[in-house]
């Protein structure tokens, strides 16, 4: 009887506790997916990197405006065309209390770049370091990166890599590093509840972070929890219910609801994913530049952005983000001009129009149908065909013959460098070149830019390439959307970054 009473009282007390009761200094993030693996070298997922970046720091980092700063490095400079030097901060501790030195940095980069260096596995992130050949130790706090050939974009790819502890990895090995963490980041791992949540707590020995990204110091909150909520409606519901303080990938249609809620707000930043329609340049009708130009002029980008995207995108006249290195400010604007588009179709011999298929994914159905409707006004009668992303891509394999016409697509480049988006999509036979576009002059500009150590000259090569592409119009350039987050109004000290990495070093709840 007594035991039953205790049971009932405890049950009632527990049930009466409000769900919003929580430790005072905990930030909860409603996140789209779980980390694949906690080993910084053993994944190729931006979502995973977003989690890892709270527990591991790197040689370089980006701030919320996407500027590059030394992080674990005190300074970073280029010694010659193929050699870079990083002087490391002294006294930086791993979570186990051991000091980070040049040995750990060399170990990290050897692990990233050498074949089978991860206990028989090769890092899938190896190619993100380009022609990095060797990492050498100059002294206890200085490392040098030696490249096989000049690759001026090398510093921009360093924020993608995080430093691991040599002694720790040698002890736990690659298998262990998949689920255990010993980084230099502002938070250390408490528990990884697979598929459910990742719980981190403040690392009291944190060195403070990049001096160029204030405030410098320890993390402001005791704990950070990444709660995995894959469904966007459920994620929004969790935010509205106060069960999380921040969510990523807030859908456009839910923005008003979050804005109206007295406890929540919407945060936005320009993203790094350019949207465009791939046109099959290898067969009619889009093998004709006049038709490609007509397609580009038939789209009222501003109307679609305003009506279907809540105004949250920037129209593009090329493939690069306006924040990208080498962005050409002087590209001719792709104005909405139906008359000129119709005239171009007539000149191309398509006065009666042409029937084409526009491949698209389900999440972009509305936008694709709006685009198809606009294209049809100039005689490009596009029928939208919805498919699963990877099934569509099987019909658009670069370097292989393609029978399709148009594909609503996108490409992300967190490095904000043409090497990561312009070259893969528009160089002849490049891995992302699904349009079949080939222009040897453009290729030559890319080759020159790839090896050019002078940044201004490099930028000029890319600008020239953009001028040519603006005439050829191999793609139907569309827009660069903003990344949208929902947050509690109590959340301060955090701004979204275009790369989509949620790092909570400076965040706190008021």
């Amino acid at each position: 009887m007594r035991k039953r009473s205790i049971f009932i009282i405890t049950a009632l007390l527990t049930l009466s506790i409000s769900l919003n009761t929580l430790l005072a200094d905990v930030i909860r993030i409603g996140y789209t997916q779980d980390a694949k693996n906690l080993d910084p070298a053993n994944h190729r997922s931006r979502i995973t990197e977003g989690i890892i970046r709270n527990m591991y720091d790197g040689i370089m980092a980006r701030d919320s405006k996407m500027n590059l700063w030394p992080e674990l490095a005190e300074s970073f400079k280029q010694l010659n065309d193929t050699t870079y030097e990083a002087k490391l901060r002294k006294g930086v501790k791993f979570h186990d209390g051991t000091e980070m030195t040049a040995e750990d940095v060399k170990f990290t980069f050897d692990r990233l770049t050498k074949e089978n260096a991860m206990d028989g596995q090769t890092s899938p992130r190896k190619s993100l370091l380009g022609p990095l050949m060797e990492t050498t130790i100059a002294n206890k706090y200085t490392v040098r990166f030696k490249l096989k050939n000049a690759w001026p974009v090398f510093p921009r790819y360093l924020p993608f890599q995080e430093i691991v502890s040599k002694s720790f990895v040698e002890r736990v090995r690659t298998d262990g590093l998949a689920t255990q963490v010993n980084g230099t980041g502002p938070f250390k791992l408490v528990e990884w509840r697979k598929g459910d949540s990742i719980i981190m707590e403040r690392f009291e020995g944190y060195y403070g972070g990049a001096t160029g990204i204030p405030p410098v110091g320890g993390a402001k909150v005791d704990r950070v929890i990444f709660k995995i909520i894959p469904d966007s409606s459920a994620r929004v519901a969790a935010l509205l219910a106060g069960q999380v303080d921040l969510i990523n990938e807030l859908p456009v249609h839910a923005m008003k609801r979050v804005e109206k809620n007295p406890n929540t707000k919407v945060l936005k930043t320009l993203g790094t994913r350019s949207f465009f329609i791939i046109l099959n340049n290898t067969q009619p009708p889009f093998d004709n530049v006049l038709v490609r130009r007509a397609a580009n002029l038939s789209i009222n980008r501003k109307l679609i952005i305003d009506k279907l995207m809540n105004g949250l995108a920037v129209p593009l006249n090329g493939i690069l983000s306006p924040q990208s290195f080498g962005f050409n400010n002087n590209l001719p604007e792709l104005k909405y001009d139906l008359d000129q588009a119709k005239e171009l179709m007539h000149q191309a011999g398509y006065s009666n129009g042409v029937d084409v298929i526009l491949d698209s994914e389900a999440q972009f159905k509305d936008i694709s149908e709006a685009l198809a409707s606009q294209l049809s006004k100039v005689g490009i009668r596009a029928k939208v065909q919805i498919g699963e992303r990877n099934t569509i891509r099987a019909d658009w394999v670069p370097k292989k013959e393609k029978k399709r016409d148009m594909y609503f697509s996108s490409w992300g480049s967190g490095a904000l460098d043409p090497a990561g988006i312009f070259v893969p999509n528009l160089k002849t036979n490049a891995r992302g070149n699904r349009s079949g576009y080939s222009n040897l002059v453009v290729d030559h500009s890319f080759t020159k830019a790839d090896a050019e150590p002078n940044q201004e000259k490099r930028a000029e090569h890319f600008r020239q390439a953009q001028d040519i592409v603006a005439k050829d119009l191999p793609l139907l350039f569309l827009w660069l959307p903003q990344d949208i987050y929902g947050a509690s109004k109590r959340l301060k000290g955090w701004e979204p970054s275009g790369r989509g990495i949620i790092k909570l070093h400076d965040a706190y709840l008021q």
């Binding site: 769900l19 080993d39 993100l128 790819y157 519901a237 990561g420 988006i421």
Partner: protein, 335 residues
Amino acid sequence: MKFSKILERFLQLIPVLLGISLIVFFMIELTPGDPVEIMLGDEISTPEQEASLRHEMGLDQPVHFRYYRFISNALVLEFGQSFYHRRPVIDLITERLPATIELTIVAMFIAIFTAVPLGVIAAIKKNSFIDKIATVGALFGVSMPAFWFGLILIMFFSVQFNLLPVSGRITYDLEVPNKTYLLLIDTLILFRLDSFFDALKHILMPALTLGLAMGAVLMRVTRTSMLEVMSQDYIVFAESKGLKRFRIICWHALKNALIPTVTVAALETGSLLGGNMIVETIFGWPGLGRLVVEAIFDRNYPIIQTAVLLYATTYVLMNFIADVLYTFLNPRVSL
């Protein structure tokens, strides 16, 4: 029951599983999509990196060789490494399986303990108000999509009234005891009542969403079966003997009426274990279904192949259990 019969049924599993593994393996291989390209995504890569990854994933081998290697490894419970997690498949599956099993058990519990009594009452009081409510409720239960109902529950219980959590298995600041890996049982065994009730709050909505659809089916089956049994001669005889109504229903009628219900419940459990991907996604439930959905989109072959083998085995086993239960409930029937 003869041991030889049981052994015979188990041996029948082998060709069934082989056949299923063959079909699934080749179907996945034929599905468009390149796992290497998917993994590398955007950003830069090199042909050497692609070749290296393809080799590590074993995708540079002929497909028949890959199948042979998959089957021979599966016989020793070695299922390879996930392409994307870069960890053993068996680890990933065993991490997620308890959550799915727990959700299935609770959903079954809700389904059986609401559907069976309701089905019995609906049958006894045929055409009454209760019968009509039960019938309409069953129609609602089978017609309503799980993703819609789940979201409605979330909007009502989480957003509107803040009573239940939207996602997960347990609140982050509560320790997770791991004995059986079934949280409700582990927390009770260790008498951690706060954790028990917290875990109960988390599982309630997903289990209700899953259990409702199954309960609707079970209710209809129970009602139909009960109506048939109640019209049998032996029931009339029992009534004429003067036995109490309650005894007739529970002792004489229900045992026979439950035969089809038990069979359906066993089969439904088999499908639930494999088919709750939608509910797990909506509620962020960290189960196997969600892992498999992600694996399908990523073309993560090792996980898909292993999970399908597991689902097939489970389904066949549940069929077998249903047959065994049937022989207990109806001794006239043998295996």
